[in-house]
Amino acid sequence: MTHTGLLPQEWLMDYAAGSLNEAHAMVVACHLQYHKNLQDDLRAAEDLGGDLLMSNQPEKMAADSLDKVLSRLDAGEAEPIEVQRSTPSEMPTDVPAPLQKYLKNGLSDCKWRIMGPGMRQMKLWSGEKGECLWLLKAKGGTQIPVHDHKGLEMTLILKGSYHVGDEHYTPGLLEMADQDHHSHQPVIDEGEDCICLVATEAPIKIHSLVGRMLQPLIGL
């Protein structure tokens, strides 16, 4: 587990290889927007992908392959895909670029649902095996209910900050907590709301009776 708030390298390799699900890939891509060093590591890992590509024994293409592709270029696919560059003033600067897939205009697009005292959530994506990508918004000073994890919980701080014991998490930092982290209880720092991008692998287990009663309603 990381205590540095930075993504461990094995996760970078997973991202480079394309083996992450949507929730993990999104958290990783957003986290990397904040850290140039990690981007350099990613480039190294993706270079390895390029090397693998180049090391392959070339496989003969069909005889009409190039003609087919050229005719597709003729058939209107030839136009370059313009990067959708908006002017900086239109760019939401409160979310990392990859997250614009879900929040085109940034955090102002959020539709929050009540999750518990001082807490709101917005579900972004869910997978077939219970994996889930969601946003958490918690008021300054909130204690997140004590919970255990069945799978891994990845939390990227977008705004505000919290601490877990001695560890302090600020925007751009990533917390990774798995089943070894029993009784995980983040406390949001006083002051502004804390907004996090969270990927969970399996429903989290909340300790308190009220929490367990609320869980089915929250759907996380």
């Binding site: 997973d14 949507e22 957003c30 590591d41 270079d47 590509l53 392959n56 392959s65 136009e79 600067t93």
Partner: protein, 238 residues
């Protein structure tokens, strides 16, 4: 630099049929020929391409061909890139589990994207093989998992989100011919096994540990050691 990127504009009209694929295959990525004054400005690159040396696309590096494809929408240049990369992309996709026809079709899709996105290719930010690998990876995920793989945009507006100590270092010149030689040779057998499962079987590090009946920590340390090799190779040449 003008001697490196010189060309005759009339060569744009070279017919596809004139491209000798054997000559294309003789191309090697290790061929060095990049200019260092690539600055992402098309006009400026146009300026340096006004030399009067006559050369055909078959004498150009792949990176130079990409510039021609981006700037001049040059099909002869594209045909050379196609002849070199399409068979390798197809082979890569077959190793990822596609059958021959599926890989053929997807390799064609990938090369169409290479044409469409050519102007986004920046040789100072990525090696061409890496850039094409990414397109192939994302296309594979798009088609097999119906998922748009979230992309890291290293050069976009999010720079203002970088921690202060990490802001704009000068762009590192990494497109050096020497490092185009494969990092794979520097990995040991155990590391290579992990890398293959990762890139070809789409296994995460925890799935690899399970698959090889290894402790998770062992797989993590193999990957981290592989990173040391990779970073050293990059560091040596930057």
């Amino acid at each position: 630099m003008s001697d490196v990127l010189t060309q005759d504009v009339t060569a744009d009209k070279a017919t596809v049929g004139a491209i000798n694929s054997a000559a294309a295959n003789a191309f090697s990525l290790t061929k060095h020929g990049l200019t260092s004054d690539y600055d992402g400005k098309r006009a400026k690159r146009g300026d340096i391409m006004d030399g009067n040396t006559h050369s055909s696309v078959s004498d150009m590096t792949h990176e130079q061909l990409m510039v021609k494809i981006a700037d001049d929408r040059d099909r002869a240049a594209f045909a050379v890139v196609f002849d070199y990369f399409a068979p390798r992309v197809k082979s890569h996709l077959m190793k990822m589990g596609l059958n021959s026809q599926g890989a053929e079709d997807m390799a064609q899709d990938v090369l169409v994207i290479v044409w469409q996105k050519a102007f986004q290719f920046d040789p100072q930010k990525a090696k061409l093989s890496t850039w094409i690998f990414r397109i192939a990876r994302n296309k594979f995920i798009d088609l097999t998992r119906k998922q748009k793989y979230p992309e890291v945009n290293a050069d976009d507006h999010m720079h203002n989100m970088l921690a202060p100590e990490e802001t704009d270092k000068p762009i590192e010149q990494m497109q050096d011919a020497e490092i185009v030689s494969s990092a794979l040779e520097h990995l040991n057998e155990d590391q290579r096994k992990v890398i293959d499962l990762s890139f070809y079987k789409e296994m995460s590090h925890s799935q690899i540990a399970e698959h090889l009946s290894l402790p998770l920590g062992t797989v993590k340390s193999r990957i981290r050691l592989a990173f040391q090799v990779l970073r050293k190779k990059m560091g040596d040449t930057i």
